[in-house]
């Protein structure tokens, strides 16, 4: 009796998603049990925390804005076979650039200040993404490590600014800058925290990128580069240009997400404006199957999990690391789902009576 792994002929996305979700639910349930928590209760609380009230839904939508922006850029990058693990840092630098504008020109009117901040955020994130891109295009340097390193560097720069030149008041040991002037604060929907201008930018971006990828010459070139860079060079596609462009877009979008966070939610720059959004977006992008349009729905779902997760974390006294652990488990489930997308397992029962394994006198 042997476990046989065979390539599947027909790939069914639906099957993948169901298996992914099933394994994620089971594995996470095990984690809950190990923490002494009733998983069913926990799931209930999570769902309620995510979608159970107007407040929950609004929080879910709010968090999904950042995820949407980051993950659509990542989906684009991953499709081009550029493994951008640096969305976290790109978000921070974008936030830093935007905050710099907000702190320098607090007297500007909102219709001038906010767009400038968004632009600055895009530029900041784009530049941060450009560095690893140049290294990859010119020196073939592995972008996984460089983008990761840039994350740490960005965190350190943020630290430096907050403890140094931009130091404002301090609350519970965590420094922040001065509060932004009212013209640097994004309007929100009613009493919720949904900073709708960023949300609109997110929607427009997803659709625009989708059209770019599927209907334009540039999108065609991006797809060719992603699937076969050698052939791309061969038909005259400028490989370097594509890599630089895609990383700038991906980084720039993360930067805009950063602006959303500082101008829309926190109204100041502080440590911890991104509790791992960069990494969660990787999961969102992967779960969307790298389809740009799907990132909208998947972002909302995942942010629901985040919101619900945060609620029970506080309610059940679990440490912060739990959410990260769930991320890891989720990613594993995704891989298991992908595995079943391509393979099927069967038991191989041999019925040969005379068997001599490789032995001859």
């Amino acid at each position: 009796m042997k476990l046989k792994v065979e390539r599947r002929l027909v790939e069914s996305r639906r099957r993948t998603i169901s298996i992914t979700i099933l394994s994620a639910l089971s594995l996470i349930a095990i984690v809950f049990l190990a923490c002494g928590v009733n998983p069913i209760l926990a799931y209930e609380r999570i769902l309620y925390g995510a979608f159970g009230s107007i407040y929950s839904i609004s929080e879910t939508v709010t968090k999904s804005i950042t995820l949407m922006l980051c993950s659509v850029g990542l989906a684009l990058a991953f499709q081009t076979a550029i493994w951008n693990i640096g969305a976290e840092g790109q978000l921070l630098i974008g936030a830093i650039f935007g905050s710099g504008i907000a702190l320098s020109f607090p007297q500007w009117p909102a219709y001038l200040l906010l767009p400038t901040m968004f632009l600055a955020g895009f530029i900041g994130g784009a530049l941060w993404g450009l560095v690893p891109a140049v290294l990859k295009a010119k020196f073939q340097t592995n972008e996984v490590i460089t983008t990761l390193m840039m994350n740490y560097i960005a965190t350190k720069i943020l630290e430096y600014l907050l403890y140094g030149p931009w130091r404002g008041k301090e609350a519970w040991g965590f420094p922040y800058t001065e509060i932004f002037s009212s013209s640097a604060q994004l309007p929100t929907l009613g009493t919720t925290r949904i900073h709708y201008p960023t949300l609109m930018i997110a929607f427009v971006t997803v659709v625009a990128l989708y059209i770019l990828l599927t209907r334009t010459k540039l999108g065609f070139e991006i797809r060719v580069v992603g699937k076969n860079p050698e052939a791309a060079k061969y038909v005259g596609i400028n490989y370097a240009k594509i890599i630089l462009l895609v990383m700038m877009i991906s980084g720039g979008l993360a930067g805009i997400a950063g602006i959303g966070e500082v101008a829309g939610i926190h109204h100041r720059l502080r440590i911890g404006i991104s509790p791992g959004y960069g990494f969660t977006s990787i999961i969102v992008a992967w779960l969307s199957g790298l389809h740009l349009l799907s990132t909208i729905v998947v972002s909302i779902l995942c942010s629901g999990l985040l919101v619900g997760g945060e609620m029970i974390q506080i309610a059940l006294g679990l440490p912060i690391g739990v959410v990260e652990m769930f991320n890891g488990v989720f990613l594993f489930s995704l891989l298991i789902g992908e595995f079943f997308l391509r393979n099927k397992i069967s038991l191989d029962i041999s019925s040969k009576k005379i068997e001599s394994r490789g032995q001859v006198k």
Partner: protein, 502 residues
């Protein structure tokens, strides 16, 4: 006992290929048994089953009259079966001795190479296969690498030796040496299974021959009791045309003029030394040569993928030396690449997308920044019909097509640009008979229409059957160029081995 019997072997490769269709194959002890068939007939698959690289769907294998289960090469090696593959299984960054030591059962843990080097010496002498044990594999020529491969297999003292198309990269002299070594081994009582598609070799070295055709074993014969024509007939099953009829056209204007090209290979060694030649309209220049003599580098220089450190490439008067691949293509050059899946297509993209890979920037296919989807679709449907590309739909990913259809796709795409020069590199390698014939016909058609064709191929049959002139490349130099009508096989063979003919 080193007899082999394979009974009722069936192997299918989904979705629709039946690689082995109830094959019954047996080999006698101490004989050299040739397995003959065209590309894709199932010869390699059958031997891969015997060697444990492929698991048959059903059927039994007997070694020396005992039923055995071979699930991995390790099992096969334990049974005394050794296989020399078509594509070498050597590790380029290791030395010869290390490669031979790999997986060798009687190699010690510490200082494994001491004993191995002695063994190499002994075997080299006995069979006339000399190599430098400390050389790195990537430094060796194809012929030398094969010697290493053979030594590696022999060092495990197999009673049964399988060789898969071993002569593809050898010069005629090296082939003679190989056959001598094989005969020596046969007299020692070893059984040799020799996979080939070349009739001459079967007659030269085989005791018996089994013919495979489309997964079925057609017949097993003693070579002394048969002849090439009969075997060819069994292999293909219809009257074989050894030369395709070429309409006689007089070539005129020079399209491609290559002068004094010098180029280096990936390791920085000279690969092309002052190569000069020309190809005219209405003409096919066939370049013969054993693989690894500069053909790949020549094609890369011609298509803009490799820098020439000296010399020029001129197309219809335009100097395209060291230009980008795009500029070269725009000058009217079409390229049918050797590595069709690697650079010929983008496997994950659809058939339709692949068909516009070259033309997508041009007007009917795109307007300003947008692609015109409906036109692209129409175009794809037209080409699929015209070129007999068998595909479930135009949105199927190109990688799912069979080799022959991928090649048809590539040809269809490349011919769209109305090229003035076609560079065809091993265009029918590994394809089935129908595709092979079709592609050769298309090349002849283009020749008729005035296109210049540069054909680089290892298949001498192909070179002889469609070329107007034949050149030979050896160690980066063009040996003489002769008219196809006046060329004969022996002369070409000798030039391929480096001997100039007056």
């Amino acid at each position: 006992m080193s007899t082999i019997e394979m009974k009722s072997i069936i192997k299918k490769f989904p979705p629709a290929t039946i690689a082995l269709d109830n094959v019954n194959f047996s080999v006698k002890e101490g004989e050299i048994h040739c397995l003959l068939g065209e590309n894709g007939a199932g010869k390699t698959t059958l031997m891969n089953v015997l060697y444990g690289l492929v698991k048959a769907d059903s059927g039994d294998v007997f070694v020396g009259d005992k039923l055995v289960k071979i699930d991995s090469p390790k099992d096969a090696i334990e049974l005394g079966i050794g296989m020399v593959h078509q594509h070498f299984s050597l590790v380029p960054t290791n030395s010869v001795a290390e490669n031979i030591a790999l997986g060798h059962p009687s190699v010690s843990f510490l200082f494994p190479l001491k004993k191995v080097k002695k063994t190499i010496e002994t075997l080299s002498e006995r069979y006339g296969l000399s190599v430098n044990p400390d050389a790195m594999i990537w430094q060796l020529s194809a012929g030398e690498q094969q010697r290493v491969e053979i030594l590696k297999v022999i060092s495990k003292n197999p009673r049964i030796l399988i060789l898969d198309e071993p002569t593809t990269i050898l010069t005629p002299q090296e082939i003679k040496n190989l056959f001598q070594a094989l005969r020596q081994m046969a007299t020692e009582g070893r059984t040799i299974i020799f996979i080939t598609h070349k009739l001459d070799e079967v007659m030269a070295v085989g005791d018996r021959v089994s013919v495979l055709k489309q997964g079925k074993l057609v017949k097993t014969l003693e070579t002394v009791k048969t002849n090439k024509q009969r075997l060819a007939g069994l292999m293909i099953g219809r009257a074989v045309l050894f030369r395709l009829k070429k309409p006689g056209i007089r070539p005129s204007k020079v399209v491609l003029e290559v002068s004094e090209i010098c180029a280096l290979n990936d390791r920085g060694l000279p690969a092309l030394k002052h190569v000069s030649f020309y190809v005219r309209e209405n003409e096919i220049l066939g370049v013969a040569g054993v693989a690894g003599n500069g053909q790949s580098e020549l094609i890369e220089v011609l298509t803009g993928l490799r820098k020439a450190i000296k010399g020029s490439v001129i197309i219809l008067g335009k100097d395209v030396s060291n230009q980008s691949p795009k500029n070269v293509a725009d000058a009217g050059v079409a390229h049918i690449p050797e590595k069709r899946i690697r650079i010929g297509i983008v496997g994950d993209l659809s058939v339709a997308d692949n068909l516009i890979l070259r033309e997508y920037r041009k007007t009917p296919f795109s307007k300003r920044i947008f692609l015109k989807k409906d036109f692209i679709e129409k175009h794809a449907n037209k080409l699929v019909k015209e070129y007999n590309i068998i595909t479930p739909s135009i949105s199927t990913p190109a990688k799912l097509l069979s080799g022959g259809n991928i090649q048809r796709l590539i040809v269809a795409r490349e011919l769209q640009g109305q090229p003035k020069l076609i560079v065809a590199s091993h265009p029918t390698y590994g394809l089935d008979v129908a595709a092979t014939e079709q592609i050769r016909r298309w090349l002849l058609k283009q020749r008729e229409l005035g296109v210049a064709v540069l054909l680089i191929s290892e298949d001498l049959d192909e070179i002889f059957s469609i070329s107007d002139r034949i050149a030979v490349i050896f160690e980066g130099t063009m040996m003489a160029t002769v008219d196809a009508d006046e060329a004969n096989l022996e002369d070409i063979g000798m030039m391929m081995a480096g001997i100039r003919i007056e």
